[in-house]
Symmetry: D2
Subunit: 142 residues, 4 copies
């Protein structure tokens, strides 16, 4: 089981918030998407942009996402997002995010993503493929 | 069980899409949020904006969301989103969205939302409260 | 001078609005970007996605944008956006958008865009090039 | 003339970028909106959220924006945004942003904003009013 964790401080911005003054929930999911990229950057030592040049990799689109919203956040709040890979499967993996506000759990999210590459015969077609062993090793997975 | 359904045609726009050319998934959730508002507009005959004036209502924030992404969509695609309330609970309800591309199910989403009003003693505080009976009746729920 | 005009009705959504309850201004610019795509779709009879397949075309990124905000819009408002090409230059063109709310001018925007193609020797490099004559003709420009 | 400047490092994220792999331009304007809030936070020592509690202030919506895009940025790029108030007028002010990529000017933006408060007799109505003297003083304006 992977135990590598990345933590990011994020300021909730005016433009993240809706007419109730709280985060418009799709914005949380965009923040979590950023956090997944940062988690891999931390594990591999390169940005997602470089990953696309170094690995046979075109992205890790979602196949499933689930989030629970426990406490609202408003603009001006400083929150902390802790991200880790909960599980590597054959060609997919599960990322977990926990967003805390003043140490209280405010949002919990679980993303199932697929490792994708461009089809060698047609660059416009995508296909899933096993997460490279080297990538899993960087996460401490045997 | 509520059976009122609202269907909306949506064009996937350039700005909805990521560097892979497919919808950046938080954008789907923003589309579904719009669709929930349209569903209530259809049921009640008034916009969400008017609902805030007519009912003791400040919004219906999410407490839980789950989505499955079965097929990607790209800019220029015309998709159809079918939305309905799957269940009314005491102070919450579940909305289901099905996004189809050329009649094939592409995304499925389930939102659990809470009916919220401003606290009578402090307009900055929100509190959940039972969905008004009149609202449920408009959805065909006894 | 091009005179072809496209008009679109747009509903202002909850997620377009900020804690003041009015449109978060970058959302207007995303709407205008959509409208530019619709304007070309109207002129050429094909979507922006198809344009990329039919023409030697990779997009029309902005080099300059200017907008004036005269009246605020709030969620639930139905507005109308009228778009046209004000001028074709050598490798660029100027699009004008006028957003009206109940027939009153609310936002005015002018975008200068460059016609871009992928470099024939390096698909990752972009280069500007003259707008195809056929495209200009469809806009009624000699 | 105000000379107080705030500089922020920003990572261009995957979700900021379009199918060409470069920043979808409305996202730049959202970044600049954040930067204006940070500039005032730096000048006043409090967040925009606190400003609304401390001052008779409901926001500083735009009346005019202009941006020039000189160089594209792509996801994974680290850019730097330098922001300052170029001018205080009676009830409005002009903010300038310069976004640099590897020390090269990539985007330039000028925002004209109005200082707004809620109407004392109707909290749903907004009205512009002179920027408080104390605020201007914090920017070094006599």
């Amino acid at each position: 089981m992977a135990t590598l964790t990345n933590t990011r401080k994020v300021r909730i911005e005016w433009g993240d918030c809706d007419p109730m003054g709280i985060v418009f929930f799709p914005r949380y999911l965009a923040m979590f998407d950023d956090c997944t990229a940062y988690l891999f950057e931390r594990a591999l030592g390169i940005t997602k942009f470089r990953m696309m040049q170094v690995y046979d990799f075109a992205g890790f689109p979602l196949v499933d996402v689930r989030a629970r919203f426990l406490l609202p956040s408003r603009f001006g709040d400083d929150v902390e997002i802790e991200s880790s890979v909960a599980e590597f499967r054959r060609a997919s993996f599960v990322v977990q995010h926990r967003l805390r506000k003043a140490h209280e759990l405010a949002v919990e999210c679980s993303e199932t993503r697929v490792w994708i590459r461009r089809h060698p015969d047609d660059r416009n077609e995508m296909q899933s493929q096993p997460v490279p062993l080297e990538v899993k090793e960087r996460f401490g997975v045997a």
